[in-house]
């Protein structure tokens, strides 16, 4: 019983942290993008305003049970990844469920939500949603390859599939894995572009073509939960990268610094580029990123 | 002693003679008499077979002239087995064709006489112990076969019969040459005597005689490339006669050839020769069968292929190989007869006998189609039906002799076989029926005959022990050449004083 309360408490605190940081990052993203494109852009806290507005909407419509449950599915992925990914080194934050699942479990729980939400999007009957979903799934089949290659490279190099163990190794040796496994880091970093779906990989939402794709037909409380889940998930993913490759973090400030600098990469990668077509995006991930992944595995096997 | 082997020749010949005479008295007797004769002979051969397996070969001397001077009949487990098989097939074919040419009495008389002659000739080939006598029986068989091929008196059947006749006369010529060669060298025509004295022959004459035998008998045994006559003859002869060809006549031909090769001469390389020629026959025939458009022709090629397989099995030469060969012969006789009998109902009214005319016929002829399907499945060797056991014994025999390549070849050819049989089956069952095709319902007796064959397939399939004992005895008897010579010649010794 004590354990359950402990975990619930930890979950709530982690959630609030991730929510705050995630929403802030998204706001900053909008601001920075605007500045690069020579616009003034919204203030950095604009996303807070958006979320609060959505959350306080009175009416909402849905097209069926699956759509109704969609945001709950995506929330499961966000919160579960947050619970499994250690937030700070050596459990200086809440231990949550860090020891209960390994990387493979994490990989799979990370697709649970998107697929659940895809079902909800499918039920709306809006063709844009379905098109967005097919694009998203195709892109996922693309970026998962270098991403898994990077993870496998880490696993075989250090003979563990546990995130906590990988963090401890970095703490003990004092060497970040991004330097001891450079190819794995490169592959993972490029895979991250697909995960965050910013330009030129924003084929799923694709504002001009698909009118935000799977998200269309969602409003009010549904969009509220989705946006919150999205920002929490973004923070969780960034933390995972920091944990795996950048030596983790000893306190929250370092964590924020590291995650934000990492976040700049997908944000700035193609900010002025036009959007890829779906097959181009898929092929992109099977090109150089997968080659780096392969190198990472070879590196791990022979060195 | 219930009866003597000589009855196998005498009774049907007598009956064949009596049929037209009795026909004047009572028309139905023309149809009944052959059946009675065959039934009695079946009983006789079964009892003799039982006796022979336990007490040893019966040698019957005709007219008191002891071997090696006179003509003798040898009822050994091997010849007994084949005799029984042939008479059984003859009997079933009789049941099937009981109502054949129901209206045309004269035609029926001819048909039954010729059928009886065909069976008698084939049984004679198997039973006789004298090589010239065998030649005579081959001629009897062939002439009845020519006549039966041309039975329908159409253009095509006449042509087929003529081809058969032409090739058949070549066969007779070579056989006579071979026999003459032997007689000039050894001065004897008795098989056992020839076998005992074969070493006295000059090797070049021996081989020459062997080659003439192979060519002459190979035509009867349908080995490639001597089998050009066969597809036409099978396709043009009446349905039951196709069954008789594949179930009776060919078996006699193969027997004669094997007897010459295994018993008469002891020449190195015969086994390898049999294997090679058998494989070639098998492959060419099965490959030709795939693209046939006529049902009976397809069955004919399949029949040739199966005989190739039998010859390969004989070529293995071990007891297991011979066992497998005899088993294959037995199953082939039963299954291919069933296919011919049921197949001829499937294309009964069609002039071209095209395979495409069987489309969807299962709805009209459920039982016949089912039996045809049973036969097809059995002949490609699917367990638990009869064909499986013979194929299996063939494979183990080959494996024992380390002839792995043969296993591979035989099985690949089986795949081809499978394709063309299943294509026909699919047509029978699943294609839409063509409107213009007229269906002929099988008569009761035809159904009975086919049902009997189907039952035999099931019995052998589920309980192969019912026949394996006889097959073992027969294969031992073929391979034990010394015993054959002794059995035959010692009869003479006993009689002489």
């Amino acid at each position: 019983m004590h354990e359950i309360i402990q975990i619930t408490w930890g979950a709530i605190v982690s959630f609030i942290l991730a929510f705050t940081v995630g929403i802030t990052y998204m706001g900053l993203n909008r601001k920075i993008t605007a500045r690069i494109q020579n616009r003034i852009g919204p203030p950095w806290y604009q996303n807070f305003i958006d979320v609060i507005k959505l959350g306080s909407k009175q009416t909402s419509i849905h097209h069926g049970v699956m759509q109704h449950m969609g945001p709950a599915f995506i929330m499961v992925t966000s919160v579960m990844s947050l619970l499994i990914i250690p937030i700070l080194n050596q459990n200086r934050f809440f231990p949550n469920l860090n020891f209960h699942g390994d990387l493979v479990f994490l990989l799979y729980i990370m697709v649970f939500g998107p697929l659940g939400m895809a079902l909800g999007a499918g039920q709306t009957g809006n063709p844009n949603s379905a098109i967005g979903v097919t694009r998203g799934l195709s892109q996922m089949a693309g970026f998962e390859i270098p991403w898994v290659m990077a993870l496998v490279a880490l696993m075989i190099q250090y003979k563990t599939t546990s995130i906590v163990d990988l963090m401890n190794i970095q703490v003990e040796t004092g060497k970040w894995l991004m330097f001891s496994s450079p190819f794995a880091f490169l592959a993972a970093l490029l895979a991250m572009l697909g995960m965050f779906r910013y330009a030129p990989f924003d084929i799923v939402g694709a504002p001009q073509e698909l009118a935000s794709g799977p998200m269309s037909e969602n409003g009010g409380k549904y969009l509220f939960v989705m946006m919150s889940a999205g920002s929490v998930f973004a923070f969780a993913k960034l933390t995972l990268y920091v944990d795996l490759f950048m030596g983790g973090a000893n306190n929250l400030i370092i964590l924020v610094v590291k995650t934000f600098s990492l976040y700049l990469f997908p944000m700035l990668y193609g900010i002025v580029s036009p959007r890829y077509r779906t097959e181009q995006s898929v092929r992109y991930f099977w090109g150089w990123p997968s080659l780096f992944g392969l190198l990472a595995i070879l590196h791990a096997m022979f060195f | 002693m219930v009866g003597s082997p000589v009855l196998f020749i005498a009774i049907p010949l007598l009956a064949a003679f009596l049929i037209p005479l009795l026909g004047f008295v009572w028309k139905e007797s023309v149809r009944i008499l052959p059946g009675l004769v065959l039934l009695y002979l079946l009983y006789l051969s079964l009892t003799l077979m039982e006796q022979v397996v336990h007490t040893g070969t019966i040698v019957e001397v005709i007219a008191g002239w002891a071997p090696p001077w006179g003509i003798n009949l040898v009822f050994s487990p091997l010849t007994g087995l084949l005799t029984t098989l042939m008479i059984l097939m003859g009997f079933i074919i009789w049941i099937y064709s009981y109502r054949f040419k129901n209206i045309d009495f004269q035609e029926a008389v001819k048909y039954f006489i010729l059928l009886l002659m065909l069976i008698t000739g084939s049984v004679g080939i198997v039973l006789t112990g004298d090589i010239f006598n065998q030649f005579v029986f081959i001629e009897i068989t062939s002439i009845s076969a020519y006549a039966l091929t041309a039975f329908y008196k159409g253009r095509d059947s006449a042509e087929a019969s003529f081809k058969y006749l032409m090739i058949g006369s070549l066969s007779s010529m070579f056989l006579l040459l071979a026999i003459a060669l032997i007689y000039s060298q050894l001065g004897t025509l008795n098989m056992a005597d020839i076998a005992a004295k074969a070493h006295l022959m000059k090797p070049e004459f021996k081989i020459l005689a062997l080659i003439f035998f192979i060519t002459g008998l190979g035509i009867e045994a349908e080995i490639f490339p001597l089998n050009g006559w066969a597809p036409d003859a099978y396709a043009q002869a009446p349905g039951p006669i196709g069954a008789a060809f594949s179930g009776i006549v060919v078996k006699a031909g193969v027997y004669a050839m094997i007897r010459v090769m295994f018993t008469l001469f002891d020449v190195a390389g015969t086994h390898q020769f049999l294997i090679v020629i058998g494989i070639i026959t098998l492959i060419i025939a099965e490959m030709s069968a795939v693209r046939q458009e006529h049902l009976k022709r397809m069955l004919a090629y399949s029949s040739i292929g199966q005989m190739g397989l039998v010859i390969v099995a004989f070529g293995i030469g071990t007891e297991e190989g011979v066992f497998a060969a005899l088993f294959l012969m037995l199953n082939h006789a039963i299954i291919k007869s069933l296919l011919f009998l049921s197949g001829s109902y499937l294309v009964y009214h069609s002039t071209g006998k095209y395979i495409s005319e069987v489309d969807g016929i299962a709805r009209n002829l459920p039982i016949t189609s089912f039996l045809f399907a049973l036969g097809s499945i059995a002949i490609v060797g699917m367990p638990p039906f009869a064909g499986f056991w013979s194929k299996w014994s063939m494979l183990t025999a080959a494996a024992h002799s380390n002839l792995i390549l043969i296993i591979g070849l035989v099985l690949s050819v089986s795949l081809i076989e499978l394709v063309y049989y299943f294509r026909v089956l699919n047509r029978i069952y699943f294609f839409p029926k063509k409107k213009e095709v007229v269906v002929k319902k099988p008569t009761i007796n035809a159904l009975l005959a086919m049902g009997l064959l189907g039952l035999l397939i099931l019995i052998i399939g589920f309980y192969p022990d019912s026949v394996t004992g006889y097959l073992h005895a027969a294969s031992q008897s073929l391979l034990d050449k010394g015993k054959y010579i002794h059995d035959v010649l010692s009869t003479g010794q006993l009689l002489l004083p």
Binding site: I7, Q58, T59, I61, M66, M80, L97, D102, Y108, L115, G122, Q123, G125, A130, T134, R135, L137, S138, M140, A141, I145, V148, V152, I156, K159, S162, A211, E217, K221, T278, E279, V282, W286, M301 | I207, L208, I211, T215, P225, L226, W229, A268, G269, Q272, F273, M287, S288, R291, V380, P384, W389, A398, A399, I407, L415, I416, L418, N426, F430, D465
Partner: protein, 614 residues
């Protein structure tokens, strides 16, 4: 007891067939009683280790049950019984039902026979019985018999003949047909035989397990059989191939000095099968074809697991084998339900069934989640063990290949659910009702079992572990798995229970929030009430996206899919037919030619007489 089991099935099959002529009710009763009777006897009367023998055709036949065969019998009878109930309703009103039920029971009988055979000859006989009884099912509908039917029978026969060759070789060498003796004498065979016997056996088994490159029969055969049988066909019958493969790998390949080669080749063939099966499944518009290709892919994973052969890999293969029976059984049944209720199985034709067939949807959803391997359902357990075993046994590239296949599998998983159940609800399908309870309940039962297995995989891992011990593996309980914990060889673990509870908790928490918040102001609108490019579609306009669903993805993988195994086979077949046509012309029909042949034959032999009879 085995006698009784087999005679019940055989007698029941014949009785059912005969009863068909009398009355439909009698036939259905016989059919169900036979199935239930067999299952009942199997679970209550049959004890592991029992052996019966008798002889036929001078062969000694031996039948018996061990834990390994028990595990596979479990799959066969479990799925078989549920499919039998389903079939009663699904097949209602179709033609030739006696024939269908007869073949159904015979194929169940032959599968049980296969796993219970302790000698090669009865193994082979049952194997062939399985082939022709399932062939009857493939051709049952009468569609494409000349193509798919012949394909199926041809490939099966190819495999069977390979096996027959192996059996003949074994028999020629040890003069015994007992499987136990074959295994114990395997070490004394010559090196050539030691390689060839397992290869020949594996050829036979990989045909049934639909492994590349012998899989081409599968999509056609699976999609042409009636769905009530396809669930058994893909779920249980293909597992006979896996059963044989496991046997061969454990008892023979592992004794070879260069077994790594074998293992690598087969593991890769399995992985390639998985990838290609997945890609082709993505491209299908016909739900039956999609599931058929997906079956091929799923069997690929299992083959990889078997080939790797470490205890974790074998455990995952066994687990996945049972799981595949569960979820693919459910999915084929769901397709059957949709087919029966709507008359079509094309994604591009039927949409928006979720509100009409909710139970079918739920069952399909759960099965799809399990198929995709997503926690918290059973599929994840199998996938996890497979990945970890591959990583632990240093198959790094292989694990990427498998991972690629299972990530791409999400695409067709989504297509399946979206195509039938989601999208716009059309008037055309307004009349559609949920399938009868007899069809829905078996699906829901299997789906429910999948849910339980997600948290407590130990239920199934326990018998799998016992089965592996029969094969000579060390017990794995406690260090590779316990009731709801999974371990890999490095000691990393997944504690399923807290994870599943957490998932359920979070999901329910947010679901309640979503539901309660603004309960009164939340309203349901139809799928026609959407905004599309600023317009609201009219009632008759169907905007569901279902044609060229994954076109961009297929374009991306286009180069791989350009080459199809089946075209090669087709070309080979066409070439062979040309050759056959040529040989046919050897027989010209001209008597003179034939006479010349005779003379040529004579001359050749005369010339070569010294070579031939030297």
């Amino acid at each position: 007891m085995i006698y009784i089991l087999f005679s019940i099935l055989l007698g029941g099959a014949i009785l059912t067939f005969l009863a068909n002529k009398i009355s439909g009710l009698l036939r259905d009763t016989f059919f169900l009683l036979t199935m239930l009777g067999a299952t009942l006897i199997f679970y209550t009367q049959l004890h592991i280790g029992g052996l019966v023998n008798f002889s036929i055709g001078s062969f000694n036949l031996e039948w018996g049950v061990n834990s390994f065969s028990w595990y596979f019998s479990l799959i066969v009878l479990g799925l078989g019984t549920l499919a039998a109930f389903y079939a009663l309703s699904y097949m209602k009103g179709k033609e030739n039902l006696g024939f269908f039920y007869f073949s159904f029971l015979i194929s169940i009988l032959s599968m049980l026979g296969i796993v219970m055979s302790h000698d090669l000859i009865s193994f082979f006989i049952f194997w062939e019985m399985m082939t022709w009884s399932s062939y009857f099912m493939v051709i049952y509908s009468g569609k494409n018999v000349q193509k798919n039917g012949i394909n199926y029978i041809l490939f099966s026969a190819f495999g069977a003949y390979a096996m027959l060759t192996a059996i003949a070789l074994v028999y020629a060498n040890i003069h015994s047909l007992s499987i136990v003796e074959m295994i114990s004498n395997y070490g004394q065979f010559s090196p050539a035989l030691q390689t060839w016997i397992p290869i020949l056996f594996l050829m036979a088994f990989s045909v049934k397990a639909a492994m590349m490159p012998l899989h081409v029969w599968a999509p056609g055969a699976y999609s042409d059989s009636p769905m009530a049988y396809t669930s058994v066909f893909s779920g249980a019958l293909s597992k006979m191939g896996i059963y044989g493969m496991i046997l061969i790998f454990v008892t023979m390949i592992s004794h070879l000095p260069d077994d790594t080669w074998f293992r690598e080749v087969f593991a890769w063939l399995g992985a390639i099968t998985a990838i290609m099966g997945t890609l082709w499944a993505i491209a299908q518009d016909d739900a039956r074809k999609l599931l058929a290709y997906s079956s091929v892919a799923q069997l690929g994973y299992i083959i990889t697991g078997v080939a790797i052969g470490t205890d974790l890999a074998m455990l995952s293969a066994l687990f996945l084998a049972a799981l595949h029976a569960l979820f693919k059984g459910t999915l084929f049944m769901a397709v059957g339900a949709v087919e029966r209720q709507t008359g079509t199985v094309k994604f591009s034709e039927v949409t928006g069934l979720i509100r009409k067939m909710p139970w079918t949807f739920i069952a399909s959803l759960l099965a799809i989640i399990a198929l995709a391997g997503i926690p918290p359902l059973g599929g994840f357990v199998g996938k996890w063990m497979l990945y970890e075993s591959l990583i632990n046994s240093n198959h790094y590239i292989l694990v990427i290949a498998i991972f690629f296949a299972s990530t791409s599998a999400f695409l067709y998983c989504y297509k399946f659910l979206f195509g039938f159940f989601l999208g716009q609800e059309e008037k055309e399908w307004a009349h559609v009702k949920e399938a009868p309870a007899l069809m829905v309940v078996p699906m829901l039962l299997m789906a429910g079992f999948l849910v339980i297995l997600g948290t407590f995989p130990g239920i199934l891992l326990k018998p799998a572990d016992t089965a592996m011990q029969t094969l000579g593996f060390a017990p794995t309980e406690g260090h590779l798995w316990s009731m709801s914990v999974l371990f890999n060889a490095w000691g990393d673990q997944v504690l399923l229970r807290p994870l599943v509870y957490a998932i359920a908790g979070i999901f329910l928490f947010f679901l309640i929030i979503l539901t309660v918040k603004g309960w009164k102001n939340t309203r349901y609108v139809t799928t026609k009430d959407i905004s599309s490019s600023g317009e609201v579609p009219l009632e008759h306009e169907n905007l569901t996206f279902s044609v060229n669903f994954y076109q961009p993805f297929l374009r991306a993988v286009g180069p791989v899919m350009k080459h199809r195994m089946i075209t090669w086979y087709r070309e080979f077949g066409a070439g062979m037919e040309t050759i056959f046509d040529f040989t046919r012309r050897i027989y010209t029909g001209n008597g003179q030619t034939y006479a010349i042949y005779v003379m040529v034959f004579l001359v050749i032999i005369l010339l070569l007489q010294n070579t031939i009879f030297g």
